[in-house]
Amino acid sequence: MRITQGCFSFLPDLTDEQISRQVQYCLEKGWAVNIEFTDDPHPRNNFWEMWGLPMFDLRDAAGVLMELTECRKVYGDRYIRLSAFDSSHGWESVRLSFIVNRPKDEPGFRLDRHEVAGRNIRYTTTPYAADRPEGRRYGGL
C-alpha cells in the first residue's frame, strides 16, 4: 500500500528535477530545508530521524540534492522526506513536507479491532513492516 503523507503524495513520485524545483521554491521563500528518514511509516510517527542538520543559508537547490543523494546511498531502502521550516515570526513551523524516497515494496497496514465494554470497537493500525526490528524492515540486513 502506497503511503500518502505530506504534499504531492497522491501524485506519481517526483523526479529529481521536480524535487529540485520544489526545493528552490522553499529556498526562495527563505525556509530551511531538512532531510528526514524513517522505516516506521505509521501515520502518527511524526518524528523522523534527521539526516544532518537543517540546511540554513542555502541559495541553490543543488546543495540539498547533494545531501539527498548521500542520504539515498545510505538509507535508500527507507522513507525519506524533505521538510521546509519557516523561522519567521508567527510561523516558526514546517511549511512544506513531501516524501522523496520510498521502499520498493510497501506492505501496508494491519487493522486490529479491539472489542471493549459495551461492544464498542477500538481500532489500531500497525504497519506490517514494523513487525521486523528497526533497520531490517524493508529488506535491509
Binding site: 540546511m55 542555502l58 541559495r59 541553490d60 537547490a61 543543488a62 546543495g63 540539498v64 547533494m66 545531501e67
Partner: protein, 308 residues
C-alpha cells in the same frame, strides 16, 4: 534590422542557426559589467584583458548551446594570484556577476572563506564543515582566500587534506553547480599547486594580479576619497605622492589596502586638527579637504627621516 528580426523569430524554435551577436551581447548585459570593471578598477590591465577573454568565450559558448553544437560545460574554476590588496576579492565579485548574467552560475552569490571555515579541529569535523560551505556556495562562486593554508606539508595528518579531497571531488562532479576561485600570494600558490596536482589540472584560468604602480595607487586614493566625500588639498596631494613612495618600500605593504588604511588615519588626524581649535568656524571646504600636515604627521615620514 532584418537580421535581428530573424534571430528573434528563430529563437523560439531550437536549434537556432543564426544569431545576432550584438543583440545577444546586449541581452545578457555583460557589456555593462565589463565597462564597470574598466571604470571602477584602476590598472590591472592583464586581469581585465583575461576577464574579457573569458566573457567572450562564455558568450560564444552560450550561443553554441543555442545552436545545439554540443560541447562540454566549460571548466570555470580559477586561481587568482597576487600580492595582498591587489583587488582579488573585488574581481571575484565581478566575475560572479558576469557568470550569473551569462547563465553559467544560477544564483551569482559569492561565498568567501578561508581555511578556518573549511577545516575542522578534530576527526570527523572537517567533512561536514566543508560540505556545509559547499552547499551554501552551490549556484554561485566559492572564493577560497589564501588557499595554500589548506595544505600543511609539515603535518601529513592535517585535516586540510580531507577538505581538499572533498573540494576536488565536487569541483569535478558538480561543475555546472559551482565555480571555485582559489586566491593567494603567487609563490605560495605555486608551491600549493605543485603538491596538489589535482587542483592545477582542474583549474582552467590562472590569473595573475600585478602590483599597482605609484600613479595607480594615487588614483585609487583619490577615488576612495571621492566616494566618501573628502579631497586632498594640492599640497596634501604632493605629500601623499611622497607618502606612497616611502610606504611602498616598507615591509607589510599591501597595495590598495594600505592606501585605505593610510586614508583612514589621515582622516583621523584631520578630525583631530579641526577639533583642536573649538573656536573656529568651519566651512564645508574645511571639512572635506585634507591638508599636507595631516599626511606629514604619518609614522612613515618619521621612519624615513630617521633612517636617512
Amino acid at each position: 534590422m532584418s537580421m535581428a528580426a530573424t534571430a528573434h523569430d528563430v529563437s523560439e524554435a531550437a536549434p537556432t542557426d543564426q544569431v545576432d551577436l550584438r543583440r545577444e551581447f546586449n541581452e545578457v548585459g555583460i557589456g555593462e559589467v565589463l565597462d564597470q570593471l574598466d571604470r571602477e578598477l584602476v590598472g590591472l590591465k592583464p586581469v581585465k584583458t583575461r576577464i574579457r577573454e573569458i566573457a567572450s568565450l562564455l558568450l560564444i559558448e552560450r550561443i553554441r548551446k543555442r545552436m545545439n553544437l554540443t560541447s562540454d560545460v566549460p571548466t570555470l574554476h580559477m586561481s587568482f594570484t597576487g600580492n595582498p590588496g591587489t583587488g582579488k576579492t573585488t574581481v571575484a565579485l565581478r566575475i560572479a556577476s558576469i557568470l550569473h548574467k551569462l547563465g553559467f552560475v544560477r544564483r551569482g552569490q559569492v561565498v568567501s572563506v578561508t581555511r578556518d571555515e573549511l577545516v575542522g579541529q578534530y576527526i570527523g569535523h572537517t567533512a561536514p564543515k566543508t560540505k556545509e560551505i559547499l552547499k551554501k556556495a552551490m549556484g554561485g562562486v566559492l572564493f577560497i582566500d589564501e588557499a595554500y593554508y589548506l595544505h600543511r606539508p609539515d603535518n601529513e595528518r592535517d585535516y586540510g587534506q580531507e577538505a581538499i579531497e572533498i573540494l576536488l571531488q565536487v569541483m569535478e562532479s558538480q561543475r555546472e553547480d559551482l565555480v571555485v576561485i582559489l586566491a593567494g600570494y603567487g609563490d605560495r600558490m605555486d608551491k600549493f599547486f605543485a603538491s596538489n596536482p589535482g587542483f592545477r589540472s582542474r583549474i582552467a584560468h590562472h590569473i595573475d594580479f600585478p602590483d599597482y604602480t605609484d600613479d595607480e595607487l594615487l588614483a585609487i586614493a583619490e577615488r576612495m576619497l571621492r566616494d566618501i566625500n573628502y579631497k586632498f588639498s594640492p599640497d596634501a596631494r604632493e605629500a601623499f605622492i611622497r607618502y606612497i613612495g616611502l610606504r611602498k618600500v616598507q615591509p607589510l605593504f599591501s597595495n590598495a589596502r594600505s592606501i585605505r588604511n593610510a586614508l583612514d588615519r589621515i582622516r583621523l588626524r584631520q578630525a583631530n586638527r579641526l577639533v583642536a581649535d573649538l573656536d573656529s568656524v568651519l566651512t564645508a571646504d574645511d571639512i572635506i579637504s585634507l591638508e599636507a600636515s595631516d599626511v606629514f604627521a604619518s609614522r612613515v615620514f618619521l621612519k624615513a627621516s630617521s633612517g636617512a
